[in-house]
């Protein structure tokens, strides 16, 4: 039997395909590879088994420069991210079999809303899983220390956002200490890069608790690729991190999952700095309030005690003069009583008193006959002998 040359055989395949599948099809598949070269886009499409996740279909696909020049930016504008591996896509394709290059689907259109829907579904799935694991709200249960001044910062070192953040803190009156943990903040490596930064912070934190909180920030446009911040692994790491995490990853669309599980979510790096400053403002106010209360208390106390002393001191002379008067009265009374007892008054009325050996005699029976008695009168003394 005559054998065909490879090009003859391949030509047959090409003809069969061109004849029997000479139209365009919409296909839904996952991208396992995606790269641009000289303005063309080369992809690997894959379909995985729903349960085992093993590939059950695979094919190459190409989008020529003339089409890709429009489709690429359109896709990125609509979904907020460039086409990349891992995304689910709906593509309009026609088959092409080239004798030298083999089989490939040629892409003529793309439906970004399908990818958006799939991303939203995946986000919902991740949220459901985080809630089921009981970690979704863990960060919300943490509280920022009153003196939240030692900040671990995860961001890209070159990002303008980092400079804004650090400058804003430095311009405040407070004493902040920041330490940078550089990470890739865009594209497919976001997840692993941020997780490894979190791990470094955790190690240092367990050694000496030198951080009060973590700030994850990113400056830049809203159209940049945010899909890395919607990943389950990263969300789990953030949700279960022992320190409060503040996110300021600047984007316009709804919250990403990272924002949802973090302790506090703000829009921009500057807003993150402002948040930390306001937090210390509150602490500072508490100290000032204490100082004010103490001042008020002591000035009230002083006024009250002064009034007490004043009252006492003005009352004192009155009290003393009362006391004097009372004593004087007592003295007068005593004097009168004493006067009433003065024997001179009795003598004047004609009474006399009789003494024996200087002692007053009250009973005649006490006097023996022959005793010498002394009788005192108002005027003079009589010495007599008792019979």
């Amino acid at each position: 039997m005559d054998a065909l040359s490879l090009i003859e055989l391949n030509s047959m395949v090409r003809h069969v395909i061109e004849r029997s599948m000479g139209r365009e099809y919409w296909v839904e598949a996952e991208l396992s590879e995606c790269r641009e070269n000289r303005g063309h886009c080369f992809m690997e499409l894959i379909q995985k088994d729903e349960h085992s996740n093993t590939p059950i279909a695979r094919a190459s696909a190409k989008c020529w420069q003339s089409t890709w020049g429009m489709l690429g930016p359109y896709f990125e504008r609509t979904t907020g991210q460039p086409l990349h591996a891992g995304l689910k896509v709906r593509l309009q394709v026609y088959p092409q079999f080239h004798e030298a290059y083999g089989f490939s689907w040629i892409i003529t259109d793309i439906d970004p809303t399908f990818t958006l829907g799939d991303m939203a579904r995946r986000r919902q799935e991740i949220i459901r899983q985080l809630k089921e694991e009981g970690v979704f709200d863990l960060q919300k249960e943490l509280s920022l220390p009153l003196f939240c001044q030692n900040i671990a910062v995860i961001t890209s070192q070159t990002a303008a956002g980092y400079g804004d953040f650090v400058n804003q803190l430095a311009d405040s009156p407070y004493d902040f200490h920041t330490q940078l943990f550089p990470a890739i903040m865009q594209g497919e490596q976001v997840e692993q890069s941020v997780i490894s930064a979190l791990n470094q912070i955790y190690e240092l934190y367990t050694l000496n608790s030198q951080f009060d909180c973590v700030v994850i920030i990113r400056g830049g446009g809203a159209t940049a690729d945010m899909s890395g911040f919607d990943a389950l692994d990263l969300a789990e790491n953030v949700a279960q991190f022992p320190l409060p995490i503040i996110t300021g990853i600047g984007h316009d669309r709804d919250e990403c999952i990272l924002d949802m599980v973090s302790h506090v979510r703000v829009k921009t790096p500057t807003a993150a700095a402002q948040f930390l400053i306001s937090h210390l403002d509150i602490t500072s106010q508490r100290i000032d309030t204490c100082a004010e209360h103490i001042n008020t208390f002591f000035s009230l106390l002083k006024t009250r005690e002064e009034a007490r002393i004043d009252k006492l001191s003005s009352y004192l002379p009155i009290l003393i003069s009362h006391l004097f008067e009372r004593e004087q009265h007592r003295l007068e009374m005593l004097e009168q009583r004493a006067k009433a007892l003065d024997p001179a008054i009795l003598f004047k009325r004609g009474y006399s008193m009789t003494l024996h050996n200087g002692h007053l005699l009250r009973n005649a029976a006490d006097v023996k006959p022959g005793t010498e008695l002394e009788t005192r009168l108002e005027q003079g003394t009589i010495i007599s002998i008792a019979k």
Binding site: L146, Y174, D175, H293
Partner: protein, 59 residues
């Protein structure tokens, strides 16, 4: 004692003071204590302390 504890202690001290739970004899001591806590907390919060340290390091 952490600064957080210092601030809470300060607030408690003020509360007790205002409730009239200290005698005049105790007040002087409590006031000194409160002022120490205030300056300790403020020093931690503001740049002064660390700025002085930085200046000393430079010279």
């Amino acid at each position: 004692m952490t600064y957080e504890e210092s601030l809470k202690q300060l607030e408690e001290l003020v509360r007790q003071m205002e409730a009239g739970n200290y005698s005049i004899d105790q007040l002087a001591e409590k006031l000194t204590q409160a002022q120490q806590l205030i300056s300790q907390c403020k020093e931690k919060l503001y740049k002064t302390d660390s700025e002085i340290k930085k200046i000393l390091e430079k010279s």
